[in-house]
């Protein structure tokens, strides 16, 4: 997996979390994962298709999600399953959307699908969809991002042919 695909997601997560939580964030760990993804808490999954394809998962434990939701709302919110699910999905949506915006400006074209709750622990990653797991440490708790992206080979071939003409 190329770092040029990952960096926009790290930048976007950093920007969205910093803006929403009004605090700085740090990347406390970064690791490659080839096994099926094991959720830490409530996870939202967003599929990406086009020049680059794959998926992004954002994962927060319940208490962190409630704190994040409260920070985003500017008021203390009571814990509820709906609030937690909505928070995680919207956070995933904003991070992915901002990253896609940056990648699109670099010439990649793709479509972001609406977030869905990641309820299963997923199938094992294939050789070229190995995932990168990043943990962001924030004042509201840890936010995990799991990214498995690859170039769409057909689109890559078309781009190479177009560049050669």
């Amino acid at each position: 997996m190329k770092m040029e695909l990952i960096q926009p997601f790290i930048n976007a997560a950093d920007a969205v979390l910093a803006e929403g939580l009004q605090c700085s964030t740090t990347v406390s760990s970064l690791s490659m994962e080839e096994e099926a993804y094991r959720r830490k808490g409530v996870a939202a999954l967003i599929w990406v298709s086009g020049d680059i394809e794959g998926r992004v998962i954002l994962d927060l434990d319940t208490q962190t999600a409630v704190r994040v939701a409260s920070k985003f709302a500017g008021t203390e919110l009571p814990e509820s399953d709906t609030l937690v699910r909505e928070t995680v999905c919207e956070l995933a949506n904003q991070v992915t959307g901002n990253a896609i915006t940056a990648l699109n400006d670099q010439g990649f074209h793709f479509r972001v699908h609406p977030p869905i709750l990641h309820t299963e622990d997923g199938s094992k990653s294939s050789e070229d969809t190995e995932a990168l797991v990043i943990c962001f440490e924030t004042a509201s708790g840890n936010v995990f991002m799991n990214i498995a992206l690859r170039y769409n080979r057909r689109r890559q071939g078309e781009r190479a042919m177009a560049a050669g003409q």
Binding site: F72, A73, G74, T75, E86, C89, Q94, G97, N104
Partner: protein, 146 residues
Amino acid sequence: MEQFAPVKRSKDGQPVRYLVVDDSVFARKNLVRIIETFGGQLAGEAGDGATAITEYDRTNPDIVLMDITMPQMEGIEAAEKIVRQHPEARIVMVSSVGYQENIVAALQRGARHFVQKPVKPEVLYEVIKYVLGEDATVSNAAGAGA
């Protein structure tokens, strides 16, 4: 949350009425909280583009805040359909996907402006004032902060 000088309708001095369209309830609630700090009033909500069209017909809002990526019918298509029926409609796209092609597509199909998520209240406030133009007045209410 910061309070802004209330934006009112010029014609009758009433609060500006908003239709908020986003498939995320969380995002809608946040937008509603923000427009309340502008002195705005919620006219209606929708979770997808198709519902947005029927809600527009029902509520006739002053401003529509419209997400782009939504199930069933996306925001740009819904904006185009609303503007076709109501050329006076003022639609502001609010999306995390803010690349140029998307913005241009939205503007070409009738949207008046674009605001990227996460929404900064001070940015949305300026956009609302710009989009309403002479149809809005900013009242100098006591306690207004911006």
